[in-house]
Point group: C2
Chain length 246, copies 2
Amino acid sequence: MAHSLATAPTCSNCPIRHRALCARCDDDELEDLNRIKFYRTYKAGQTIAMRGDALDVVASVVSGTATLERGIEDGRTQMVGLLLPSDFIGRPGRTTLQYDVTAVSELTLCCFARKPFEALLIQIPHLQERLLEMALDELDAARDWMLLLGRKTAREKIASLLMLMAKRTMNPDGEAMGTTSRLELPISRETMANFLGLTIETVSRQFTGLRKDGVIGLDGNRVVLIPDLQDLLVESGDDGDGGPLI
Amino acid sequence: MAHSLATAPTCSNCPIRHRALCARCDDDELEDLNRIKFYRTYKAGQTIAMRGDALDVVASVVSGTATLERGIEDGRTQMVGLLLPSDFIGRPGRTTLQYDVTAVSELTLCCFARKPFEALLIQIPHLQERLLEMALDELDAARDWMLLLGRKTAREKIASLLMLMAKRTMNPDGEAMGTTSRLELPISRETMANFLGLTIETVSRQFTGLRKDGVIGLDGNRVVLIPDLQDLLVESGDDGDGGPLI
DNA sequence: GTGCCCTGTTGATCTGTGTCAAAGCAGGCC
DNA sequence: GGCCTGCTTTGACACAGATCAACAGGGCAC
């Protein structure tokens, strides 16, 4: 289950430092965190936790992708969050989970038992502060997603998703506008549909449509070639201000 | 603009204590907050702030209702938050606003300049903690709303909205199931449409439909009579677990 | 190779909701 | 009263996306 200690990634190599929980911790504080942390890995498709489960662990994503989903009894579900490396799961002060959490790729979590973690929060005030910042970023992202779900067309939804993936995947300073970008999608059509409030058929048709219109190219069904990001901006209705999306 | 000091409400009489920012403050801490607070009032329909405005004030809603909206350039807008008494606006550490904030009824805010407020946050750790809890509640609410926007039908959306209003308006322990409840809506058809990702015509038709099917009664267009809340639960696809909705 | 499973694509059709347009209704003001 | 103006309702129609169904392709076991 857990990595061996020798190969285990450490908090100090969180892949995207500025978003990470411990972004502002000094060495002593990192040491405090290291003392109580442990790792868990999951296979693609594996359920991490279900709605209503006791929440006695909080965690940071070290590598891989996971999803948060909310469902109705009749089987309809809506993805409400996409967890990428450095994102945080769980919440101090809450004892049960509100969502289904699933690994969509091989996933490694850096976990902390809730009780000692809460104790550390009191001891290290700027950890609490950082957690608040991250929660507010997530809130902004959720609200942007509400705009997408409530008001955008299927094509705009797809375009927005591609923009989001591009932003989180590619070097922000590289890839000048007008250069063809190669974008590898980490999720299936079904996951996308779930994310966008669409059906898989509609997602598939939109990809075909965008390809026929020359806005994107497809290489297999997990790789998208984007000749001009600007075109996608038009399709997506995104004003490109770079606000947090997830 | 501001209330006279004599009639000004104080933080200690926040109408819904358990959700309020200062819910766990002692007298000394309340005094610290009181020293830097001031009040602002707005008329129904008045714009409080626009997206991109500098955010040098944070505030708690004392009375009335406000909305948060996110829009695309072509005029489409989606409401992303409903602010009721005791809800909090603004965020420490962020300098510009992400949304349009509008008063939909006569509104009173209890404001704090951002700088001194941030200083207080450091001085009073459990204020920070409370802020985190509130942000996480908002996040849960936003995510429930994503399920509604992405997967529910127009009728279910209306029913969910009525359930939400009922929960926030009515005495939670009163009104046994099976008793007719009288629910006064604080928002117009347009605001509802904006909230639900629908058009005003669809909202209107759904109200008519629910009335014709005997699920609700209408008394004017701002008052809804609900013979049996259980019926609404069925319509809304809400499992009624009482999780935070906004 | 064959058969099976899983994911994705494409087609035909249906339907819920948006769009456009007109009319009803209440409140305010002259 | 009459005439606004703003909000709501209702109708006719169009269309985006859902639904149902068939098929294609790749990976894998055998």
